[in-house]
Symmetry: C2
């Protein structure tokens, strides 16, 4: 982990029955402070302008100056924080590589830039995108991601439905399959939950998580300081 990294990883940007980022507004303001410049990354979505406008409006209402990197890449160098929005993880990582942003964001976060991710934006903060549930609609040059934290995120974590007759795999089964091939902890981040990482210390809020490690039973964590 980059020792200097300040990172906030949300499972989701919209909670059922609430508006965009409403459930995480207090956490965002506590993390970012009352003011500042935020560089928004809309690359996970198809409609870049529409997404940048939606996020920009919401973050402006919280007190931030927002610029989308798809309009002016130089805004990153002037920003206090980068916000990487959710959507399709493969499209996001493919475009981050195409724009040269993988190395740039990694260096900027090591240098003090605050990082906020939501859903796909949280996955790419991990070492790889190998725990995404998204369809691989485009092929990025590599599955390696920003590696701001030393664990994988599995957002929108859903517990198995014991009444299901569907023979497709559950999210837990998929994560266990990941651990057959990879030795890296996975955080199943339930909707509403987020992790805040500062100076290597991790704090969970907004909900509970299920943590998967190779060779040991999954563990549950409740809000508060957590060790992953």
């Amino acid at each position: 982990m980059s020792a200097a990294g300040r990172v906030l990883l949300l499972s989701n940007s919209t909670q059922h029955g609430r508006g965009y980022l409403d459930h995480a507004a207090d956490a965002l303001q506590a993390f970012l402070g009352p003011r500042g410049k935020v560089a928004f990354v809309p690359y996970a979505e198809f409609d870049l302008d529409g997404y940048a406008e939606k996020a920009g409006r919401r973050l402006a209402a919280l007190g931030y100056e927002v610029e989308s990197l798809h309009r002016r890449p130089q805004a990153l160098a002037e920003a206090d924080a980068v916000f990487v929005g959710g959507g399709n993880t493969f499209r996001l990582l493919h475009r981050l590589y195409a724009a040269g942003l993988v190395a740039t964001i990694r260096q900027a976060v090591a240098g003090g830039l605050a990082y906020v991710g939501s859903s796909a934006g949280s996955i790419v903060a991990g070492p790889t995108i190998k725990t995404t549930k998204d369809m691989p609609i485009v092929q990025p040059p590599s599955f390696d991601a920003l590696a701001l934290v030393p664990f994988q995120i599995s957002p929108h974590y859903l517990d198995p439905d014991p009444g299901s007759t569907h023979m497709g795999e559950t999210q837990e089964e998929r994560i266990l399959t990941f651990l057959q091939e990879n030795d890296c902890p996975v955080v199943g981040l339930r909707e509403g939950a987020w992790l805040r990482v500062e100076s290597g210390a991790i704090r969970l809020d907004g909900g509970t998580v299920r943590v998967f490690r190779r060779g040991v039973p999954p563990a549950e964590c409740v809000p508060g300081p957590v060790s992953i």
Copy 2:
């Protein structure tokens, strides 16, 4: 499509409440004939020996001589059919490339080898694996697959649950995201359903499918001859 290709694509190998391949046994026998040599591909699963034994026992009970390609790759050249089992699509395609089987199976099917796929084994029969729902637990050298048929399969197709409060994407939403980036029809193959392709003609049985094309509303198909 390879004009000479004979292809049977199953959504799933196990139907809820029934044994392995029970629901498709009649379709398999109708497609393969009463006897013959089947080369089994276990690469989508972690436990190759266990998977080969399970499939071998079941297919032997249906009257076939079965050899697994992970034990003797040369068995493909002597086989009447290849059966590619389900599991993780990325692991399957990665190992097909590593074993040199992508080009070999494609050529063999063009030359008359019958192809049977189930779940991940059905996905890799399409042009790419870009419609899998599996986690990308390993990185194959390419998302390009066998291209035995000119459409993508999305197996275990689940209709949206109107009562869900979960904010993750539905299978339909994911397929529509695929169509934002790719112009190729996608067959949402519900559990229990399969497609049989011979000389370019496609027949659906066992259940219904939802077909997605770029720019037009999704269409439902019922068992019988279908055009995709």
